[in-house]
């Protein structure tokens, strides 16, 4: 199956233009990242140089876990809207009358959400690390910089975003209401976050092997998800709102 980069690119371009022009999307999508920047930064800056090592360790764990929520919640809301939202505003049918394939459409949608979501997550994470290095007490800053969660965070941000986007798109392709899609999408994004939380707070021993296995697992899921979601993306169901029925559909001249 060939994928047209120009058609996929057209969807990306259109989506990003729409995001840029929709202030409400920008504002609501910015609130969570700002909360997840301000809260851990305040926690770290409030620590004194003489803080107990156990307190310091616990604060760093929490502070480094919160930015992981950005690549989950931000794309979950956007991707849940992606298909059902277009359907509700009547723009989906004209798009489906063009030669664009399901995979091209979904890939375009996913990329358009992935880029800003991961960009914002890295930006907030970078700002957090920079502030702590400049403004936190020296031992605290060192603890943040040498925390094992730091490199893991860099790996897991795009992987978690990928999971949230594909789950959101799958739900959006099947949902009949945007609000339901967004709620389901957030709920469906929780399992990998729960696992990450258990590791961050050392409920599950965060070994390198376990983290690597989780990362590889998410990478495989993210890579194959496009094709899996394309299977649940049914033109007929999306346009008519009813489940397609099988029949004796004949192809003239090529049976």
């Amino acid at each position: 199956m060939s994928i047209s980069t120009s058609r996929t690119g057209a969807v990306i371009r259109k989506e990003l233009t729409e995001f840029r022009r929709n202030r409400l999307i920008l504002i609501t999508a910015s609130v969570l990242p700002i909360v997840f920047l301000v809260s851990p930064t305040a926690q770290i800056l409030s620590l004194k140089a003489s803080a107990l090592s156990t307190v310091l360790e616990r604060r760093v764990e929490t502070a480094l876990f919160l930015p992981l929520l950005i690549p989950v919640f931000v794309p979950a809301i956007l991707s849940a809207y992606a298909v059902v939202g277009e359907r509700e505003q009547g723009t989906l049918e004209p798009v489906l009358t063009t030669p664009i394939s399901r995979v091209e459409f979904l890939l375009g949608k996913a990329t358009a959400i992935f880029v800003p979501a991961v960009g914002v997550a890295y930006l907030m994470f970078g700002v957090f690390v920079a502030i702590t290095q400049f403004a936190a007490a020296s031992p605290v800053a060192t603890a943040v910089l040498h925390a094992p969660q730091l490199p893991a965070e860099l790996v897991f941000i795009p992987l978690l975003a990928g999971w949230a986007i594909w789950v959101g798109l799958a739900i959006s392709a099947r949902a009949t209401d945007t609000r339901v899609a967004q709620q389901l999408s957030i709920l469906a994004s929780l399992p990998p976050i729960a696992l990450a939380a258990l590791m961050s707070f050392q409920v599950i021993s965060p070994t390198f092997e376990l983290a690597a296995a989780l990362a590889v697992g998410l990478l495989v899921i993210d890579s194959l998800a496009c094709f899996a979601v394309a299977r649940v993306f049914d033109r007929e169901r999306l346009i008519t709102g009813t489940k397609p029925t099988s029949g004796s559909y004949r192809v003239r001249g090529s049976q």
Binding site: S4, S6, R7, G9, A10, R13, K14, T17, E18, R21, N22, Q89, G90, T91, L92, E93, P94, V95, L96, T97, T98, P99, I100, S101, R235, E236, I239, T240, T242, K243, P244, T245, S246, G247, S248, Y249, R250, V251, R252, G253, S254
Partner: protein
């Protein structure tokens, strides 16, 4: 009512409609054969077959829920038929040929479906890219010029009136220079001026040789624009040229108005050449005669004569009326509209299913 009608007081409908006229000669743009679509237990389209010639404006009429949009969606490869087959733009309809067919056709759904936060040009550019068009700027400019929307090219789609949005959607449908255009209720919700503009655009498309498949509720629109029309109500009820359908379904008739009721209309009209039957009607010649009336004395009265040939019947009727001492106000051939045909057929099928 027997006193007010002639030998045959049946309505003006012909006893049995003739079989559908054959498809026009020449290569076909659309061939649908026994298309059927069911949604669960509900049948939306049942065993529908027709052919649309290249360059033809083909009207697809029917009441709400008749299966018009479903048929368009099947032919536009948006949904699969439950049974039957079709060829669209020389390509057999199949799950594997969907993208190829969509490259050569365009569908304008009832709702314009424009991205409201994008400008008209940005909307068109997006679709031009989806069609993989080269020289996009030129194509967009041509499409906007065709619908008279060049001066609004950089306006946000959300700021346009409904009529202008409809025009922008039509421009979008023109982008890929389609062999077949499906227009689903293109004037739905438009004011008369905007609807008139869309009619002009459809006429221009016909002049350019584009095959137009037009679904509409507006029978005047179909009558004015379409070379042929099909009337369906889940099943295909009839197909043909509008004038052909009128003739097939209704007898020809003469509408006569006299200044006062005739003393003995039966004696005047019976036995005249080419006159088959008569009935008294309203004097409102624009209304479709349906039921015989008892006319008040000393006031104008109308008579509707079912005739085999109006040209032969009219002079004989005039002479007979003059001989009977009647003051004739008018004699004219009574015209049935496509609406009469439509109502007759749809009422018949709905009566049968009741």
């Amino acid at each position: 009512m027997s006193t007010t009608s002639g030998p045959s007081s049946s309505p003006t409908r012909s006893p049995s409609p003739a079989p559908p006229s054959p498809a026009p000669a020449g290569p076909a743009a659309i061939e649908a054969s026994h298309l059927t679509k069911t949604f669960g237990p509900r049948t939306a389209v049942a065993d529908v077959s027709f052919t649309v010639a290249r360059g033809e404006v083909f009207g697809f009429l029917g009441p709400n829920g008749a299966g018009k949009t479903t048929t368009v969606r099947i032919l536009g490869t948006l949904i699969e038929p439950t049974a039957g087959s079709a060829v669209v733009a020389d390509i057999p309809l199949s799950p594997a040929t969907g993208a190829e067919i969509r490259q050569h056709i365009s569908i304008m759904p009832e709702a314009p479906g424009l991205y409201r936060r994008l400008t008209v040009t940005e909307n068109l550019d997006f679709f031009a890219r989806l069609y993989g068009l080269r020289r996009r700027e030129q194509r967009i400019s041509q499409a906007l010029a065709a619908v008279g929307l060049r001066d609004r090219a950089h306006d946000l789609a959300g700021s346009l009136s409904k009529g202008l949005r409809q025009r922008a959607a039509l421009a979008r449908s023109l982008l890929n220079d389609p062999a077949v255009m499906f227009l689903d209720e293109p004037t739905s919700g438009l004011d008369p001026v905007a609807a008139h503009e869309v009619h002009g655009l459809i006429t221009a498309l016909r002049d350019r040789g584009v095959t137009v498949f037009l679904t509409t509720h507006r029978l005047d629109e179909a009558e004015r624009l379409c070379d042929r029309v099909a009337i369906m109500n889940t099943r295909l009820l009839t197909i043909g040229r509008p004038d052909e359908l009128r003739q097939r379904l209704f007898s020809r008739s003469l509408a006569v108005i006299t200044a006062a009721p005739l003393a003995s209309p039966d004696q005047v009209f019976t036995g005249l050449p080419a006159v088959e039957s008569w009935q008294t009607t309203t004097t409102d010649t624009t209304a479709t005669p349906t039921a015989p009336l008892t006319p008040p004395a000393n006031s104008p009265v109308g008579y509707l004569l079912t005739v085999t040939d109006p040209a032969q019947a009219a002079p004989a009727v005039t002479r007979a009326l003059v001989a009977a001492g009647a003051d004739v106000l008018s004699i004219a051939e009574s015209r049935h509209t496509l609406e009469d045909v439509y109502l007759q057929l749809v009422d018949d099928t709905e009566g049968r299913t009741r």
